[in-house]
Each structure stands twice: as structure tokens, then as C-alpha cells.
Amino acid sequence: MRRRVKHNDDQAEVNMTPMLDIVFILLIFFIVTATFLSEEGIDMRPPPPSDEPPSEDSNEVILVQIDNENNIFVNQIRTDVDRVLPAVNRFRAEAANSAVLVEVQDEARHGIVVQIWDEMNANGVPVSLQRSDGNES
């Protein structure tokens, strides 16, 4: 019995190479599948509703309407997509710091809305989006 006890004192060396192979393969799998996806986008969320009533000297609003047939009206004047920014700038020249309110009908093209939103943002015009009730036109 004593001899057997002595045998147990021998350290059994585990061959770690196969395990290391597996761990490496797992590691490579997770590195490859980990798509650090950074998609780009714009934030079109409306601002949170505030309890404070709008102040007296609140700026004028330029109304940009887009209807179901993708017609664009800037303060009721019909405009082409590419001419929205010049039209808005003309109104802003008269009343500086006025904001743009984009009012869309539900069947308007998403692309047009994003384009106008982006043009306004790129030129520092404050802009917000509102859905029209659809009763008009």
C-alpha cells in the first residue's frame, strides 16, 4: 500500500495543447462574428413635451408641408424638393431664428422627409417634425 501512495505523488502532466487549439478556434470565431456594428442614422424624435407654456417672444415658425402626393409647400407656396432650403432661407432672412416645422401626411415618401430634415440640420435651422391629421386636401 505504501508504494501505491508514493505513486500518487507523481504529478500527472495534462497535455494542454488540444484544449488550447479549441480555445483559439472559439476565440477566432467570436472575434470574427463580433460585428462592432456602428450604423449611422439621424434622430428624428420629437422633443419631450414641456409643461411650460411657450414664451411670448417665441420665434416664428416656417411651415413646410408635405402631402400624400409628395408636393411640398413652404408657408403655403408650392416648392420643389431642391428649392426648399432657399425658400426657407428667404423667410429666415425676414425673421431670423425662426424655426421650421415639417408637417407630413402619412403617405409622403420617407426619403423626401429625411432629405428636408437633413438639409435643415446641416444648415443649422432648428427643425421639428409633426404629423398632419390628414383632414386637409
Binding site: 494542454m16 480555445v23 472575434i31 439621424i42 407630413v104 402619412d106 420617407h110
Partner: protein, 134 residues
């Protein structure tokens, strides 16, 4: 430089590398990648996203696609608007703090995209509209 037998035999001794510290490092890397990997479910429909130059980088974990035919795609399946709440709740369970991104086709109706946005805002999920670099 002597060529005695004994010296030559010492050169043939195998040098054993201690692999344990490397294994520790590899395991830590492995665990890091397992924990950080979020498996994003692609909508599974080709979407022609609108261009925008004011876009910002975001890391969404939930993708909701709206095709040019106004179908709502999540994880390679079409859903109707009333079903969408349940689907998003399911996705939120996997990733409670996930951000959502709506990939709307430029030809889609804006009403559907705003409907989805309103739903996500109501569910208190951060949401942005996907665009492309022009």
C-alpha cells in the same frame, strides 16, 4: 566550439514553454468576446436608405426594416403593425438596454416609419432613423 559528444547532446534538449499565462490571457479574451457579442438580427430585406450628411454613429441592437412596399421586417419575417409590440418586447428581453434603429426605404411611406417610432418612444426605447453617407 568543441565538438565533443556531450556538448552536442545538451543542445538537443527540448525547451519547454510554460503555456499557462498565455492560456489565461486567451481565456480572458474569449470571455470578453463572448460577453460583448450581441447577435444582431438583420431585417433580411434589401433597403435603399435615404442619404443624410448630419448623421451620427450609433450602435443599435435592434433593427426594424421598412421596405419600399411598406412591409415591416424584423429578423427576416414580415410583421403587421399590431404584432410589432410583442416582437419588440421579445427583443428587449434579450437585450434590455438595446437601442433600436428603423431602416426605412426612401420610397416607404413616412407614416409607417413614424408609427413605429411612436411605438418605440412609447415603450421607452431609444430610436433613430437609419441613413447612408451620400
Amino acid at each position: 566550439m568543441s565538438r565533443r559528444g556531450s556538448r552536442v547532446s545538451t543542445g538537443e534538449e527540448e525547451v519547454e514553454l510554460n503555456m499557462t499565462p498565455m492560456l489565461d490571457v486567451v481565456f480572458i479574451l474569449l470571455i470578453f468576446f463572448i460577453v460583448t457579442s450581441v447577435f444582431i438580427k438583420e431585417p433580411g430585406v434589401p433597403i435603399d436608405r435615404p442619404d443624410a450628411i448630419t448623421e451620427e454613429d450609433r450602435n443599435p441592437s435592434m433593427l426594424i426594416g421598412v421596405s419600399a412596399e411598406n412591409e415591416i421586417w424584423v429578423n427576416r419575417r414580415i410583421y403587421e403593425m399590431p404584432q410589432l409590440r410583442g416582437v419588440i418586447e421579445q427583443l428587449l428581453q434579450e437585450n434590455p438596454k438595446g437601442r433600436a434603429m428603423i431602416q426605412g426605404d426612401a420610397d416607404a411611406e413616412v407614416g409607417i416609419i413614424l408609427d413605429i417610432q411612436d411605438l418605440l418612444i412609447e415603450m421607452e426605447v431609444e430610436v433613430i432613423i437609419s441613413t447612408l453617407q451620400p
